[in-house]
């Protein structure tokens, strides 16, 4: 067993990778897709098509609404039916573009063949332009625009690129299948990212419950390295199977033995972390001119008769996926978008997939029913489990008391919402729910303070310049 892991906290939920042997299959294209304009972190995109326009697959339909934002492309060919608010999986209204599907005609520049292209241009600007215009966002869960992550602030240099293939969430198997079926493409994507960042070293981190991936990727990288120097610096690192190994800060700790300071970015310790699926999307965008119009999701659950790893077009309604897979599983009581630890419960099955949708998980009533919360027995399990070194029992008390100063002093803002504390609590206290509320309040205060400080500094600068 590999020893490589992060140093504090962590839990060991059953990995439940029951869909691991299901090859990625393309889901049929639905009759209508609903493309959300807000499927990345940052400003929502602005639509650039009008109702009645004919669009082709891969054609941009919305432009970035700010620096931290991303292009959005039509995932199908057809006619724009409407642009307006639509309810997402939690019932909240988000602006979306509805497109009625007519055939599947792609824009001309896309290379739809399966041939592996290992040669890529030396010109980083051209590559960055393709990544930006391809609408690539981080597919590890946060959907942070990739081109922003690849442009470190001046004065900071990336030393190592870390590719997250841990897939530490139970049940999910998309990344596992990516590495197994599309390992070459991922490796080329990694080499492209290395060139853009100007780094010599990259690590593909894979948890040791996926030995097939580790062996396959070692083989792939060795073969590619024999052909070209560009693949020399890529190493495959087996990681201990532990949740949340794939957390950005945890992974940097595990791979580089460096800790990101509170409020700091990974680049401050010389690291950039990208997901396996993102590396694949980069390959597609740069080598095949194919924008991000589809992603894979794991269709799984103990009550699901046939497991699947589907490749779906962005904007496919969840109800359509369930229909294709043979209808709602009989014992399913709860549907989760994503994994069981950090995924979101789905209350609206008519919602459509977004770029970051990584799974559709069905849980039975027995699996999902919460035990009634009892009193805290001060056992400290939550503090042991917290991978950020926080004290959830204390933060919970401070949050309930509304002590915002206390929360800030105890680093509430560092919580990554991984849920390890709640998982380990023997008293079934909803620690994460309470802390999430506290974190939102603290972040609000901190943002308001930063804005006030900025305004004061600007006023001072204006006053001195006026003098």
């Amino acid at each position: 067993m590999s020893k490589q892991t992060f140093h504090i906290g962590g839990i060991h939920p059953a990995d439940k990778k029951i869909s691991r042997d299901c090859a990625i299959e393309a889901l049929p294209i639905p009759p209508t897709v609903y493309i959300s304009l807000s499927q990345h972190i940052g400003a929502p995109a602005k639509p650039i098509v009008a109702v009645g326009d004919k669009v082709k697959t891969g054609q941009p339909v919305a432009e970035p609404g700010g620096f931290v934002s991303a292009w959005i492309h039509s995932s199908v060919s057809g006619t724009v039916k409407s642009i307006g608010p639509r309810k997402d999986l939690s019932g909240k209204s988000v602006p979306s573009i509805e497109i009625a599907v007519e055939g599947d005609e792609w824009i001309e520049e896309v290379d739809l063949s399966d041939t592996l292209v290992t040669e890529f241009p030396e010109d980083n600007k051209a590559i960055m332009a393709k990544i930006t215009s391809g609408g690539i966002v981080g597919l590890g869960g946060a959907t942070f625009p990739t081109h922003v992550k690849l442009s470190p602030p001046p004065g900071q240099k990336c030393e190592r690129l870390i590719i997250n293939g841990c897939e530490c969430e139970p049940y999910l198997t998309c990344n596992y299948r990516y590495l197994l079926e599309r390992g070459e493409q991922v490796a080329v994507g990694v080499a492209i990212l290395m060139q853009v960042l100007g780094v010599k070293d990259a690590t593909i981190a894979i948890e040791d419950n996926k030995p097939e991936d580790i062996a396959h990727m070692k083989d792939v990288v060795a073969k590619l390295a024999a052909k070209s120097d560009k693949f020399r610096g890529i190493e495959i690192m087996p990681m201990m199977t532990k949740y949340p190994e794939g957390g950005e800060k945890q992974l940097i700790d595990a791979v580089m033995n460096r800790q990101v300071a509170s409020g700091g970015l990974p680049i401050s310790v010389g690291a950039v972390v990208q997901n396996v699926a993102t590396a694949y999307a980069v390959y597609e965008a740069v080598q095949k001119n194919k924008p991000l119009v589809s992603n894979t999701l794991t269709y799984t659950g103990d009550c699901v008769a046939t497991q699947h790893n589907y490749e779906v077009r962005v904007g496919t309604p969840l109800s359509f996926i369930i229909e294709c897979a043979g209808g709602m599983p009989q014992d399913a009581a709860k549907v989760i978008s994503g994994g069981p630890m950090m995924g979101r419960a789905v209350s609206n099955l008519d919602a459509a997939t977004v770029k970051g949708t990584s799974g559709l998980l069905f849980l039975t009533a027995a699996q999902t029913k919460r035990a009634p919360a009892t009193a805290c027995i001060r056992c400290g399990s939550c503090a042991d489990a917290c991978p950020m070194g926080l004290e959830p029992f204390l933060l919970k008390r401070l949050a309930l008391a509304g002590d915002l100063d206390g929360l800030e002093q105890n680093a509430m803002q560092d919580c990554i919402s991984c849920g390890s504390c709640q998982y380990s609590c023997p008293a079934s206290i909803p620690l994460l729910d309470i802390m999430t509320q506290g974190k939102a309040k603290v972040m609000g205060v901190m943002k308001a303070r930063a804005a006030a400080a900025k305004a004061a500094a600007e006023a001072k600068a204006a006053a001195t310049s006026a003098k």
Binding site: K87, S90, G91, K92, S93, R344, A345, S347, T368, K369, R370, P430, D433, I434, T436, Q437, A440
Partner: protein
């Protein structure tokens, strides 16, 4: 023996006097001059420390009010006009009178009329539920019923009605401090004028969905049809985002909107007589008919003139 006693008393007296003189100097040197009116103002304030005025507590309010020397930014809604008059007297300025207000709930989505679509099993807090999703029913704007407002009320003026699942405001206990307004994640509470003898009109819905969707989610929903706004002769009703809103400063309590609302989303409270809907409808129809006739007559007249 007696000499020992005398010596003891003498030494202690001298030591005591020296210390007293020392303490007097220290007290003079480090004297903090505080306006005595601060204590007086604090004395007349209710002492609930609710923070409804925007200050950390009654003491902070008193300090700020005395320092400012006017009461423009200061109003204690808990004490009301009576307390503010006392404070004004202490400060020797004219009192600012404000209309009495009360917190009003703008949702009538009772358990009966609002079918549940799913079950929430998490922490029993409206704010926690609202941060995760829109709630157990199809209405994304309505009351979640977990009672964050009840917990926030320091005056015991709120309680959840087990029959309807909605909070009820005890208008006599409500001090209009505004803590429920700040707490509710769906922004369902509003401070509105208490009204003459407590009479007031409220649109008890905040649903922004289009008519059919709103109606499907809740039988009592405002569907934004606009009949109320067209009927109102006082220009007090605006329909925006598919829902009506009554401006309480303009409303004259005629209850025509309540009689004509097709979904019963408009409510009048504390009226002495029950509303005779048919009579009001007839009255409105009669008025509309007359207005139409007058318009027609004016039209034909102007035609004749031009001819």
């Amino acid at each position: 023996m007696s000499q020992t006693i005398i010596w003891t008393i003498a030494v202690l007296t001298v030591v005591g006097l020296l210390l007293a003189v020392f303490l007097w100097f220290v007290a003079e040197k480090f004297k903090v001059v505080e306006d005595p009116r601060i204590d007086q103002v604090e004395g007349v304030l209710p002492g609930a420390n609710c923070g409804g005025c925007g200050y950390a507590g009654c003491r902070a309010f008193a300090e700020s009010a005395v320092k400012a020397g006017n009461l423009e930014q200061h109003y204690c809604s808990v004490g009301g006009n009576a307390v503010m008059k006392q404070i004004a007297d202490i400060l020797g300025i004219a009192a600012v009178e404000k209309t009495r207000q009360v917190a009003v709930l703008r949702c009538n989505g009772t358990c009966e009329v609002r079918p549940t679509a799913n079950t929430y099993d998490g922490w029993a807090s409206c704010n926690a539920e609202a941060s995760l999703y829109t709630g157990e029913t199809m209405c994304a704007f309505g009351c979640l019923g977990l009672g964050d407002c009840v917990a926030s009320c320091k005056f015991g003026a709120l309680s959840i009605d087990p029959q309807t699942g909605l909070p009820v405001v005890d208008q006599e206990k409500c001090t209009a401090c505004g803590s429920c307004v700040k707490t509710c994640p769906k922004h369902l509470f509003e401070l509105r004028n208490y009204g003459p003898k407590g009479m007031r009109m409220v649109v008890t819905c905040r649903n922004e969905d289009k008519g059919p969707a709103a109606k499907k989610a809740c039988a009592n929903a405002c569907i934004g049809c606009g009949i109320c706004a067209k009927t109102c002769t006082h220009d007090a009703i605006v329909v925006e985002n598919n829902r009506a809103y009554i401006d309480y400063t303009k409303c004259k309590l005629c209850r025509e909107c309540e009689a004509l609302c097709p979904t019963g989303a408009i409510h009048g409270v504390n009226f002495p007589k029950p509303l005779d809907k048919e009579a009001v409808k007839q009255r409105v129809n009669e008025r509309n008919r007359k207005a139409r006739e007058a318009a027609l007559a004016a039209k034909s007249e102007s035609k004749e003139e031009t001819a």
